[in-house]
């Protein structure tokens, strides 16, 4: 064997390594992936999602890694997760099943008026839509960006996958990041929008809710949503099934699995699949940055929308509602409700708003799903 032949062989081997195919923009993506891993581990920001998402971003941004493509006509590992989990829109629905199995709708059933706060808190979704269109996005892209303000991760993933899958990565990242930052984003807006007197408003203790009511709630909700916004029933149907299983008390094994093992499994697949969509070639443009910027505005306007709705309701109601619970109208369960509680306690140490805020908080989940349904109906 001549030296030339050995050199050719070495050259051939070198060609199959990532080093030869390296691009500098990949380093930026490693940085972005590492940032989200850092936020998850060090700051505990939505670690269940941001950690696998961060790792997904990190790992797909190496040259030649067989993860998000096809080899000899066969889909590679993360491509399979993405295809069956997200393209088929399965994962968000299964997450909703688990969420339903975890959720106690008692505070919402005890005070159904708070449903309207969940509707009002969708204001930002529609305003952001307009801003996004102005920036040159298509209408479908604008809808998928707008829904970020609803602060509901699975709904954002579901709608984005349905209307603008090319924005899945940035939208999901923005949604989960801002959900984690609710305690930072909302309090200044809450203080700005309310007077000290309003923050001290005491609300009557919620009535106890019977088991029968809790069992009937998922059936009534599923029926009404199916009639009025059928396009979103894959999400809401699973949500209500999970809740029916929980409240019925007769299928504990299924409930446990839904809220535990099953939820955890799909969360892993969701995180890594979303992260894997963010390859440098697709991600490094002005759009993700814009989405992050507008997402923040979206959250802020949704918070304002919830508080304003309470203020309008207070004009008509004898028993006033503390406007601090308006901000909980964005989903982010139960973080947004906790923020209301903390803010309330700052002005009256005996005024506990948590259970009152859970009502609009849960209404926000239904409201953002309804808004998503409106957008799907608009384009399908």
């Amino acid at each position: 064997m001549t030296l030339n032949e050995i050199m050719d062989m070495l050259y051939g081997i070198f060609h199959t390594t990532g080093v030869f195919n390296f691009q500098w923009k990949l380093i930026i993506m490693w940085g972005i992936g590492s940032l989200f891993i850092y936020l998850a581990i060090a700051k505990k920001y939505e670690p269940l999602l941001l950690l696998p998402i961060g790792f997904g971003i990190f790992i797909v941004n190496f040259p030649l890694v067989p993860l998000m493509g096809y080899s000899h006509g066969h889909a590679q590992l993360l491509q399979i997760f993405y295809h069956y989990g997200l393209e088929w829109e399965v994962i968000p629905c299964i997450i909703f099943l688990g969420l339903g199995a975890m959720t106690d709708f008692g505070p919402l059933i005890a005070n159904p008026r708070t449903l309207l706060i969940g509707a009002g808190a969708q204001l930002g979704v529609f305003i952001t839509f307009t801003g996004t269109v102005l920036a040159g996005f298509t209408l479908k892209e604008a809808a998928s960006v707008g829904i970020i303000g609803g602060a509901d991760g699975p709904t954002t993933v579901y709608l984005t996958q349905h209307l603008a899958p090319q924005l899945l990565g940035p939208n999901a990242l923005a949604a989960y990041s801002y959900m984690a930052m609710v305690p930072l984003i909302q309090p200044p807006i809450m203080r700005l929008m309310t007077s000290v007197e309003e923050r001290k408003i005491r609300m009557r203790q919620l009535r106890p809710v019977s088991k029968q009511e809790k069992i009937l709630f998922p059936l009534v909700t599923a029926g009404i949503i199916a009639l009025l916004v059928p396009s979103v029933i894959p999400l809401m149907g699973m949500f209500m099934l999970g809740n029916l299983m929980k409240e019925s008390g007769v299928v504990e094994r299924l409930t446990e699995t839904s809220q535990g093992a099953l939820m955890n499994i799909v969360t892993i697949f969701l995180g890594i699949s979303v992260g894997a969509t963010m390859h440098a070639d697709k991600f490094l443009s002005w759009k993700p940055l814009f989405i992050f910027g507008l997402g923040l505005v979206d959250f802020a306007v949704c918070t304002i929308g919830g508080i304003l709705t309470v203020k309008v309701m207070n004009l008509l109601l004898k028993e006033k509602i503390n406007p601090l619970i308006g901000s909980a109208g964005v989903s982010a369960v139960p973080m947004a409700a906790r923020v209301s509680q903390v803010q309330g306690l700052k002005y009256d140490k005996t005024n506990h708003l948590l259970m009152h805020a859970m009502g609009p908080n849960l209404a926000g989940v239904i409201g953002s799903a309804a808004a998503a349904g409106m957008f799907i109906a608009m384009f399908d």
Binding site: L116, G223, I224, A371, G373
Partner: protein
């Protein structure tokens, strides 16, 4: 020479006209259609072709666009663009009165804002119905529970 100039003059005069007639804001126009009313943002035409023929023409002409939707309404077929085209919709009437009526409308903010406002109100309506459903079911259940408790006692 004068005999030659006249046809050349007419030819060049008709080129812009024919180009003008081929599309409206980028939306292809049905051949042989007559303009009924034309503004900067709206074009109404009448075509001797039937509704189905016109729909078939547009299906062919617009097949390369991803964000085009054909909606089959009771009285018309409504073609809508959700992408970045300059026109928003083409409405093809199903009624044939001296021809088929066809209306092309420019993409406009009135439509976007209008549909957003309606859909935002729609979210309220959905949750309002849910609220009513909860009040009604809550009342029925609490009454029946009270009756059961009264019977037991």
């Amino acid at each position: 020479m004068k005999k030659l100039l006249l046809p050349i003059f007419i030819f060049f005069l008709t080129i812009p006209a024919s180009l003008y007639a081929e599309d409206f804001l980028g939306a292809p126009l049905i051949p042989g259609g007559k303009t009924v009313e034309r503004t900067k943002s709206r074009l109404e035409m009448k075509s001797p072709l039937s509704h189905d023929e016109i729909v078939a023409f547009y299906r062919q002409a617009l097949k390369k666009y991803e964000d085009i939707k054909f909606r089959d309404w009771k009285d018309a077929t409504y073609i809508e663009d959700d992408g970045r085209l300059s026109w928003h919709s083409i409405t093809i009437s199903k009624q044939y009165r001296d021809g088929t009526n066809l209306v092309i409308v420019k993409d406009n903010w009135t439509w976007i804002i209008g549909t957003l406002v309606l859909r935002f109100i729609g979210v309220f309506v959905v949750l309002l119905f849910l609220m009513l459903g909860m009040y009604i079911s809550g009342t029925i259940i609490s009454r029946s529970v009270k009756k059961l408790e009264a019977k037991k006692s």
